[in-house]
């Protein structure tokens, strides 16, 4: 537990449930906590573990204290979780998604100055419907050798994600929302998704609404990613496009991600793996989790702190003096973290 002795102004301390995760999770989580402390962010952390346990009735669920903490604080920051094979329970991410009805996955992809990729000036956000679509999990073998997977599109889920996308665009000063679909092929299902997006667009006349086929988006994304702003789409396309955009800015090690739930719950996470080979060796790169934390601060309305921490992080990467191995340097995680903390304090 952190105690902020020199609390500036009268910022209310907000509780955040911290889920360190597995592998490199604990070290990057503590790095983020240090940086937040250096920035005097009014955040008090409650650490919880979400390893699945079998509840009454034999159903897998997350530990009740974790659920209770999250329901109370409504905000969570999560590190990478291990998905054990043959443990008998579904993936942890799926469990969290179902428990808190996390329907929107938001990934802002901004080019990091100092971490060069062939694509510069990327600044877009992918908003993906996370509960239905192609990942409904409804599959069956009809006869031997013929398998049918069902893609589910419902009016409610489509409307909900479209409303969230436009709200997000409005709250973050974004100028346009593009619906990505394949309604020329999947005429009924993506047609419904598109119709709902169009309907919601009517109530948000200040935001420009366009629609584009998935293949056209892919074609244009790799040629000129600057033409895109906010993209909203069903589950599968969102999965693919959000990873594509992460690749444009440098991969999963530097990409933040947020999941928004139906009851005001929001869980921000890093989407990379647990990297068991470097766990505990102080070599991990906390950027992804840190930027997710920045996203979280913005969600909580703490824009000043968010801006400070983001600037410090980008400055450190741009200077190239203390970079972790995956960013091309050979410094330790603690050195990287210390540099960011120093910059944050200097910015005050």
């Amino acid at each position: 537990m952190l105690s902020n002795m020199n609390m500036p102004r009268l910022a209310q301390m907000q509780t955040v449930t911290l889920i360190p995760g597995d592998g490199i999770g604990p070290e990057i989580s503590s790095a983020v906590v240090k940086i937040f402390q250096a920035a005097n962010a009014p955040v008090s952390w409650e650490e919880r573990n979400v390893t699945a346990i079998k509840g009454p009735g034999g159903r897998w669920m997350i530990p009740p204290d974790a659920k209770e903490s999250m329901d109370r604080s409504k905000i969570g920051l999560k590190g990478p979780l291990k998905t054990p094979i043959a443990a008998g329970h579904p993936s942890m991410n799926l469990l969290l998604r179902k428990t808190f009805d996390l329907y929107a996955n938001v990934r802002p992809c901004i080019s990091i100055e100092g971490y060069k990729t062939p694509y510069t000036d990327v600044d877009l956000v992918t908003i993906r419907e996370n509960t239905e679509g192609e990942y409904s999990g409804i599959e069956h073998q009809i006869v031997d050798g013929v398998v049918q997977s069902i893609k589910l599109i419902t009016e409610n889920a489509s409307r909900r994600i479209a409303e969230y996308a436009f709200e997000y665009a409005r709250n973050n000063q974004r100028s346009s929302v593009t619906a990505v679909h394949k309604a020329n092929i999947m005429r009924m299902s993506d047609g419904l998704f598109l119709r709902k997006c169009r309907e919601v667009a009517e109530s948000y006349k200040d935001i420009k609404f366009t629609e584009m086929y998935l293949d056209t988006v892919c074609l244009n994304m790799v040629q000129d990613p600057t033409q895109f702003d906010v993209l909203v789409m069903p589950n599968l396309y969102g999965d693919i496009l959000s990873d594509l955009c992460a690749g444009l800015i440098g991969g999963l090690g530097v990409t933040p991600s947020g999941n928004i739930g139906a009851n005001g719950v929001a869980i921000f996470e890093s989407v990379h793996g647990t990297a068991p080979d470097i766990a505990g060796l102080d070599l991990a790169n906390p950027t992804a989790l840190l930027l997710s934390g920045v996203m979280m601060l913005r969600h909580m309305g703490l824009h000043d702190h968010a801006h400070k921490i983001q600037k410090a992080c980008f400055d450190t990467i741009r200077e190239k003096k203390v970079l972790t191995k995956d960013l091309g340097g050979n410094s330790k995680c603690s050195e990287f973290t210390a540099d960011i903390c120093r910059r944050v304090q200097d910015l005050d």
């Binding site: 990729t117 694509y119 049918q148 069902i150 009016e155 009924m188 496009l241 959000s242």
Partner: protein, 382 residues
């Protein structure tokens, strides 16, 4: 004659269901123009090849004009049977489709543009383009992604082949509204078709001297559907010990393609992922205007562009890039065993691009489609 054709196609379809399909599929790569079961038209005295041409919508007609002009200037012994089938221009009907199909079955080789599928549907969920593919059983779509010498993009010297199963998968056109507001769309994966496309991919890799085939899937989420596809690929891979086999998840594949596309050689995948990766890879080397592609069935070959877009906003403005269609036409000539003419056309196109003086808008130049075509013609004989 149509009845005889229909009967022979029915026999072919039935035999594809049983073990005989191995023999049928193994003929798929070395497609020759003759098939004993079908009546062929009387041999022509001037020995030109007849090819069905379907301009399609959008800039298709303009691109076809470019092909015809280049062929005429190069004295290529190919004659085109033109058909116009279009859903958006109200030129579509069952009769037209039948006419087109019988011509294609006769000629065995076709060159086509994209038939635009409108988003509104009147009755049938499957578009004309889908139905054409299904009726001719054009199960394999091959897109050649090669960097053009002289035109640099963010990733240069790319050489990929993308093989996509294009008759089943997510494009089943089987959708229904269970209750108002809830729509189901079925994705169908079958063992027979998965094996067929996997075998096609490995045969293709063997024939073209490729080292590696990578299967693209999402079997961690769609365990039964893509799991079956993956299993079929793995089974077929064992029959080709000289070719390395790997698999990769679609989202990771997209990320790797924009970060390090050189790790891939031949990619094989089901329908929707193929659509995504075709377009992504086309974007990597310069866009939809430079990538040729073709579709194969056991008997027919259809040549078209790699990334299929009607590009309606360019109609009449003379700005479309004919490169993709010309390179595809050159591939068609090679398929017809007209090696000399094939090289003539493709070398001319590559020379014009390498020189860099005449380039259309999508490659950063100011030339019109006509100017580009004229430049290619000028480079033909040299």
């Amino acid at each position: 004659m149509a009845v005889a054709l229909k009967r022979s196609l029915a026999v072919l379809v039935k035999s594809l269901g049983g073990p005989k399909w191995w023999q049928q599929a193994s003929r798929s790569v070395s497609i020759s123009a003759s098939l004993s079961r079908v009546e062929s038209p009387p041999a022509r005295a001037d020995a030109t090849f007849k090819v069905t041409m379907l301009p399609g919508d959008g800039v298709g007609p303009e691109l076809m004009t470019a092909v015809k002009d280049v062929f005429k200037a190069g004295d290529v012994p190919v004659e085109f049977d033109e058909f116009h089938l279009s859903e958006v221009q109200n030129m579509a009907s069952e009769d037209k489709l039948e006419e087109l199909l019988s011509s294609m079955k006769n000629n065995k080789v076709a060159i086509k543009g994209k038939i635009h599928t409108p988003m509104e549907f009147k009755g049938e969920l499957a578009s004309y383009e889908m139905r054409l593919r299904r009726k001719l059983d054009l199960f394999a779509n091959v897109v050649h992604v090669n960097s053009l010498p002289g035109y640099s993009t963010r990733h240069n010297n790319l050489d990929l082949v993308i093989i996509r199963e294009q008759t089943e998968g997510e494009y089943s056109s089987l959708e229904h509204e269970s209750v108002p507001g809830v729509i189901e769309c079925l994705k169908i994966i079958t063992r027979a078709k998965s094996r067929r496309i996997a075998k096609f991919a490995f045969d293709y890799a063997t024939k073209k001297g490729r080292n590696k085939v990578t299967a693209v899937h999402k079997a961690n989420i769609m365990k039964l559907g893509d799991g079956l596809f993956l299993q079929c690929c793995a089974e077929v891979a064992q029959l080709y010990p000289k070719i390395k086999y790997e698999n990769i998840i679609i989202d990771n594949c997209c990320m790797q393609l924009v970060q390090n596309p050189y790790q891939f050689d031949v990619l094989v995948m089901p329908n929707l992922y193929g659509n995504i990766i075709d377009n992504l890879a086309a974007g990597l080397v310069g866009g939809a205007g430079v990538v040729p592609g073709e579709s194969y069935s056991a008997e027919y070959a259809v040549f078209e562009t790699g990334a299929r877009h009607p590009f309606a906003q360019a109609v009449g403005r003379n700005i479309a890039n004919p490169t993709a269609m010309l390179l595809s036409a050159a591939n068609m000539l090679r398929h017809l065993n007209l090696e000399y003419h094939s090289h003539m056309v493709s070398d001319a196109v590559k020379r014009v691009i390498k020189q860099g003086k005449v380039r259309t808008g999508d490659l950063g130049g100011y030339a019109t489609s006509d100017e580009f075509t004229q430049a290619v013609i000028a480079n033909l004989a040299v």
